[in-house]
Symmetry: C2
DNA sequence: GCTGTCACTTGACACCGTGTCAAGCGCTGG
DNA sequence: CCAGCGCTTGACACGGTGTCAAGTGACAGC
């Protein structure tokens, strides 16, 4: 909090006039970034995609390229979520939005009659959500050293083989 | 530290006579659990597997069923790893051991001439390692509510479709 | 039986981060 | 002119980690 106040050019106490707790500040930052960087707009291509496969690709690309932009705040929010209920809730809420996108992509596959027979739509959604998680991105790019481009392409390939008949 | 000391029936200060820092204690606990619960023994079936596919299955089962036993300490270690270099290193070291198992399974597939053509052995190892990560387990079982049995079976199925030709 | 050592105890303290409180200051709009 | 607002300074409480000093009690070796 002291660091942030210094960088903002105000006193530490003034920060508490705006945000009651550290968690609240992190939540507000998260919402602000979503607004400025526009999650919604990123997922537009996935709405206008014609086939289910196209939609799957667009969703992976849109979300996958969004992750690096929110990574720092996401990590902070996840960390504080271990002890702060409201922060955990805020994160879950964000994830629910992203999970809706997964669900829609899976739904589009079903409409095309191209879903993999191995999974129910719910299970397929869970799987897609899991492999697109921030933690997974962290592991593959920061942990394994994959460049972002490769992350996107490989995940597209994985998703197709797992979720498309 | 106070809680742990109380549960151990010694004074908080006595704890510091054994472990210099909280991180050091967590690291020691991790090693102790590995010793007692035996990671090595769990992976024996994977060494004796005949085919590459069998080995892949055995590795997923062995490790996948080990995760719930180490989950609590793993989470604590990961959390403290954000600020403590030694803890992060200890975790990476454990992960390297597990990653070796992934590598060996991929190697076995190659020896059988059954690896998926889409990935190099290194990439296949990274992917297997990522989907078998503790975070992924957390997400699917705790987040999505999958029972352990289903987690194992679904991951086996995923791994085959991704990594086997 | 004495003594040194060792594991532990009690009780204090420093430091850091979060969050709170009170008093004061300066600008601006009515 | 002044009330209100946003901010300031400066203090403090609290909890957690880590440190330090002095003391205690048991046990082993002489």
């Amino acid at each position: 909090m002291a660091d942030i106040a210094r960088r903002a050019g105000i006193s530490r106490q003034a920060l508490y006039l705006h945000f009651a707790t550290r968690a609240e500040l992190l939540i507000a930052v998260t919402h602000h970034i979503d607004e400025v960087k526009g999650v919604q707009e990123r997922l537009v291509p996935s709405h206008t995609a014609r086939s289910g496969i196209e939609r799957l690709d667009a969703h992976i690309k849109g979300w996958g390229n969004y992750i690096p932009e929110i990574y720092a705040i996401a990590k902070a929010l996840l960390a504080v979520g271990d002890t702060d209920e409201a922060a955990a809730e805020a994160w879950d809420e964000r994830m629910a939005a992203m999970s809706e996108g997964c669900k829609a992509a899976i739904g589009a596959l079903k409409r095309d009659n191209t879903p993999a027979p191995e999974h129910s739509p719910d299970e397929a959604t869970d799987i897609l959500w899991a492999i697109l998680s921030v933690r997974n991105w962290e592991q593959l790019t920061m942990g394994c050293g994959w460049p972002q481009e490769r992350y996107i392409e490989t995940l597209k390939s994985l998703a197709r083989r797992i979720l498309v008949a």
